[in-house]
Amino acid sequence: MHPVRKKRLTIVLFLLIGLSIAVALTTYALRQNINLFYDPSQIAAGEAPVDVRIRAGGMVQEDSVIRDPESLKVEFKVTDFTSSVLVEYTGILPDLFAEGQGVVAMGRLDGEGRFMADQVLAKHDENYMPPEVNDALEKAASLRAAESTGAAESSTGY
């Protein structure tokens, strides 16, 4: 084969190999590491998968934080004011974690509807609301509004 063509062929081969390795790694890694967000209503309705790493978020329910007296274990409820889910976490909570604040937790649901969190995020700014939580709250609120205004309007819904 002509040396120039041979060289081009090697380069193209290298590129192809590199590309396919990259694609394979990426798809594999993506499949493992996409964390979907679920709000408390979805979790209560059983829409969220069990024992898959997901994110859940909402407001920390007032008077729901219970600390273990011996360790760093803590339990609290996260609510969208329609449903709530019990979150269990061991470790240090962020500075801005407080009852009535929006949080997002990463973790897995166990079989009994408890959310075993391995990470709890509350953002750095007290006025900040995680966008997911904001959406979830709005969704729950509009659902409640729709229910309270009765069935007449729901037929005209989208």
Partner: protein, 667 residues
């Protein structure tokens, strides 16, 4: 009155920038030298007015002029003066002004340090810089004016700077980062100018090389500073989170690294020209993308300020115009370039090509992981996040491969390298780095596959680099003479590669052998972390300039029971924004850090305490300093200076002369 002057200065700067974007370019296309001659004075004028605006904004901060909305939102009369100063870029509007100041600074530097370049080239480069400046000045004036007033109800005091940003790291992190980000605009401008006049040759590569290297060095420092700041201020001991904002700064760094290497090939061998141009365009586009991601409010993080959809749209349009127009130009002009030089299937050219493949692949991976959730969210296809494991899993193999390739590539020759010869060359470095890696594994007492690969790759790079230096410096007149004879750009390369190995070693060891414990402690308690013991002695209170703090006093003892250091990590409550901040106590060392942070109070006399043992964590930032130093050393190389001298005086300079201004254009 001063803020109005600032506003005026910005508008005048916009006018000058518009002139700069048009007049010299028209002059260069029509061949009228009088018009081209405007490029330098216009650049200087532009710089003066932007600097004036920046100075006036700084003045407003230092004099607590809370009638200016931006000052009122980001400062407070209680703030220490140095934070008032850094608060200038603590918010969206001011940091944008800093961006522009850097941009016109770079423009001015090009104007000053380009005496040896053909006038046509200079006027085109400066015109392109002018176009970019027009875009950003319009953005500032239309959507984010830092000089907006709150009249007549002037607030009595400001809302204060976000306490997270009241830190030494923030004083220097953004300027460094922006120097890097914006510096790539020079490489971009050179690429566009070269495309316009079809002059893609070795000279073009030599001109844009030092600029790219300087920008890259600043960006390296900026990223490292950000990571360092996150480590002690924000992250509870983490140093890289694959946060979209961090990724936004890593993206141009990765493609900028590729650009630097491909420029080397273009300069030395005249190949990869179109690829190099494309990389220059991509790198600057990624800088713009980074700015868009951080400033538009599509992301939420410490860096994202009050979001405003209008701003996002404007930046997106700016980004689209830049990418579309430069790629169109590229599509029409790049095929003009022909390559005549030949190289074999195994040669330094091919090694550098593979280096580029790896770097571009990692750029794409990071880009994918950063953009994918945003795109899905925008298309309303669900909210998801891509976690750290994705990046760790995909990025680490590429980094390791880049290290292995680098070690072998150092020995390779231009044009053609003999495979057998190269193989024999690599045997000793291979043996030596296997030994080093084994010793490290034994030293830390545990074998971990990733730690092994990472350590091997890092030591491979170090050993190959020194091996090559040893061989090259061999001389009949003695070792010292041989060492002196190597060029500064060679030493720059050595430092840069060592820096990369140091970062790699630090990242590998810190993440594999670090120990992190969250424990519940009361005063009097003792907890073990690695070989060290932390004793919680007592708590206390103190008052700072604008905060009150509750601190814990910890004694760190080593395995013998001797006192290593006393740390006072604290929880601060800032008086204005009422935020609680965690201030960690860190006993820093070259080989390990001990990190103590106080979490929330879990009971009347008990606190949640985070204890960390972080081996080699300092190496992450040390390596970045090496890289940047290598970059600055490389551009001080004689071949950039001698040309200057020859042109200036028309007399050849004696080879040993240290005279002449090094290309410190960036400073």
């Amino acid at each position: 009155m001063y803020p109005e002057l600032g506003q005026m200065a910005l508008i005048l700067a916009l006018l000058l920038a518009s002139l700069l974007a048009v007049v010299p370019l028209v002059g260069s296309v029509t061949g009228r030298e009088q018009l081209q001659a405007f490029s330098r004075p216009l650049s200087a004028g532009l710089f003066v007015f932007v600097a004036l605006a920046f100075a006036l904004l700084t003045h407003a901060f230092l004099t607590d002029d809370f009638s200016v909305a931006y000052v009122a939102n980001n400062s407070n009369s209680m703030l220490p003066w140095y934070y008032k100063f850094s608060a200038v870029w603590g918010g969206h509007e001011g940091s944008l002004l800093l961006w522009i100041l850097m941009l016109v600074g770079w423009t001015l530097a090009v104007a000053v340090f380009s005496r040896r370049l053909p006038t046509v080239m200079v006027s085109q480069v400066l015109s392109v810089m002018g176009m970019v400046t027009v875009g950003f000045l319009l953005f500032t004036i239309l959507t984010s004016n830092p000089f907006d007033r709150i009249l007549p109800n002037v607030p009595a005091d400001g809302a204060d700077l976000n306490p997270l940003l009241q830190d030494f790291g923030l004083i220097i992190h953004p300027p460094m980062l922006y120097m890097g980000y914006v510096g790539f605009s020079v490489a971009f401008a050179f690429a566009i100018a070269a495309l316009i006049n079809g002059r893609l040759d070795a000279a073009w590569a030599r001109w844009s090389r030092p600029w790219t290297t300087v920008a890259w060095s600043f960006l390296s420092l900026g990223i490292a500073l950000g990571s360092w700041w996150a480590y002690y201020e924000l992250g509870w001991g983490g140093w890289w989170f694959w946060d979209p904002v961090e990724n936004a700064s890593l993206l141009p760094w990765l493609s900028g690294t590729a650009l630097m290497h491909s420029l080397a090939v273009t300069e030395k061998r005249g190949v990869f020209k179109s690829w190099t141009v494309l990389l220059a365009i991509v790198t600057f586009s990624l800088s713009l993308l980074g700015t868009f991601l951080v400033r538009s409010g599509v992301l939420t993080s410490v860096h994202a300020f009050a979001s405003d959809p209008e701003r996002g749209t404007f930046l997106l349009i700016l980004l689209a115009i830049t990418i579309v127009s430069s790629l169109t130009l590229y599509a029409f002009r790049a095929p003009v370039v022909h390559v005549r030089a030949r190289y074999a299937g195994l040669s330094r050219e091919v090694f550098l090509l593979l280096n580029n493949v790896l770097l571009v692949a990692s750029t794409l991976l990071v880009l994918l992981g950063t953009i994918y959730p945003l795109v899905l969210d925008y298309l309303d296809m669900g909210r998801l996040s891509i976690g750290e494991p994705f990046f760790n899993l995909t990025f680490s193999p590429l980094a390791v491969a880049a290290g292995l390739l680098l070690g072998a590539g150092i020995f390779s020759r231009w044009k053609k390298t003999d495979g057998g010869w190269l193989g024999r060359k690599l045997l000793w470095p291979l043996a030596a780095s296997t030994l080093v890696t084994a010793l490290v594994m034994v030293g830390y007492g545990e074998f971990k596959p990733w730690a092994f690969v990472g350590t091997f790759s890092a030591s491979w790079v170090v050993i190959a680099t020194f091996w090559d230096l040893w061989e090259k410096s061999g001389s009949r007149k003695g070792r010292l003479y041989g060492l002196k004879r190597q060029s500064r750009s060679y030493y720059g390369m050595v430092l840069g590669h060592l820096g990369m190995a140091i970062v790699m070693a630090g990242a590998t060891i810190a993440s594999n052998y670090g120990i992190e414990r969250d424990v519940r402690m009361s005063p009097g308690d003792t907890a073990q972390v690695g070989d060290y013991k932390a004793v919680f002695v007592e708590t206390g209170n103190r008052r700072g300039a604008n905060f009150t703090a509750e601190y814990g006093r910890f004694e760190i003892l080593d395995s013998e029971g001797d006192l290593v250091s006393v740390q006072m990590p604290e929880k601060r409550q800032y008086l204005v924004q009422r935020n609680v901040m965690t201030e960690a106590g860190i006993d820093a060392g070259l080989f390990r850090d001990i990190f103590i942070a106080v979490g929330e109070r879990v009971a009347e006399d008990a606190w949640a305490i985070r204890l960390q043992y972080k081996p080699l964590v300092r190496w992450l930032w040390l390596g970045a300093i090496f890289m940047a130093a290598g970059g600055f050393l490389a551009i001080s190389d004689r071949r950039y200076r001698i040309r200057d001298k020859v042109r200036d005086t028309d007399v050849p300079v004696p080879s040993g002369s240290k005279a002449g201004k090094p290309a410190e254009a960036a400073s």
